[in-house]
Symmetry: C2
Subunit: 203 residues, 2 copies
């Protein structure tokens, strides 16, 4: 009933993460109804981005240059390397602000279920980079999932001979979190990781 | 921090209906990480669709031809014309199946708040089409909103001199609907529109 071109476009949209068939239909209609003002600029920006963006040969970030603007920024501290799973995690860290070192994107986490071993990730290259850059501290900022934590421990083991300080980001109650709404796992993790308060009542 | 090209693409994605900034970021990353397999075919399909799709000069549907495949289909009943607000509503009617007549897309509903009068919609052209096609019944299938119902009554008034049968789709409890979860307006509409059951207990 609907033209094959429209159907194909809806199918491609509905394959994007977080977009269902209904959203996909609305997006396609929205673009088709505003062809000059919306659809053409949308296509042009997609083409331009596809042509311009490359993966950084250092950290694995996506940028118009390789090494990326983070890796060549002289203001970033080359002594600290933050290891994350995905490009999205690097962006989330940068949005949070505060970290001024370099990054290393693994491209995922170890998963025997999905057949992802250390060589599918950028773990061997991580060891090379730590030696080349002369890194002093490696901060493991992987997801608080089973895969993320397995990967954290695996990397900590691998880096033991590198004589580098290895830390992992803390797990606990998220800011604004109410105990009543949190899962028992988070609460018990926060409980076990409790810290002594000093006399001023600060952490 | 993130490249300007990526930022612009995320911004364009987040302007699509139903896509928030988070979904937009995920979509853009998903495409960039699979440039050859996902992003290039996505761009190509967008270009092809933008080039191929036109608005039907008859009903207003989007298709690769004008008049569209529905308007020129000899199996469709030219005696019945179903009036809907948007292309999406035509698609929803076709998905529901059962209707074998032709359509007329208004392009919206009357709204004094948004400054949409009869001439902004395709209402004058509806009168022309009814005369040209020799339509016998006009089915008003507009949304059950204030604007949709205002438009229904306006069109019914306009079509009075055309000596054509005018009907509107029924309002009531949706299939599978439970009274306890429905708004009072829907329940009272269904109550007022109650119909006599025959002796076999059928409607």
């Amino acid at each position: 009933m609907v033209s094959a071109d429209i159907e194909n476009l809806i199918r491609l949209f509905s394959k994007l993460p977080g977009i269902g068939p209904r959203s996909a239909r609305r997006c396609v209609l929205h673009l088709l109804k505003n062809k000059t003002l919306k659809m053409i600029p949308f296509i042009q920006q997609l083409e331009q981005t596809a042509a311009a963006i490359v993966e950084c040969s250092g950290c694995g970030n996506l940028d118009t240059q390789s090494p990326c603007s983070l890796c060549v920024n002289p203001k970033r501290d080359m002594n600290v390397l933050c290891v994350v799973e995905q490009v999205a995690d690097l962006w989330a860290m940068e949005r949070a602000g505060g970290f001024k070192g370099l990054y290393h994107i693994l491209g995922g986490a170890l998963s025997s279920f999905n057949g992802i071993g250390p060589d599918e990730l950028r773990i061997p290259y991580l060891v090379d980079r730590i030696r080349t850059l002369g890194v002093k501290e490696v901060i493991l900022a992987l997801n608080a999932t089973i895969e993320g934590q397995t990967t954290t421990h695996y990397i900590a083991n691998e880096l033991e001979p590198c004589s580098v300080k290895i830390t992992a980001i803390a797990h606990g109650i998220p800011l604004g979190g109410e105990l009543d709404f949190l899962d028992p796992g988070t609460i018990m993790t926060a409980f076990s990781a409790r810290r002594a308060l000093d006399f001023e009542g600060e952490l």
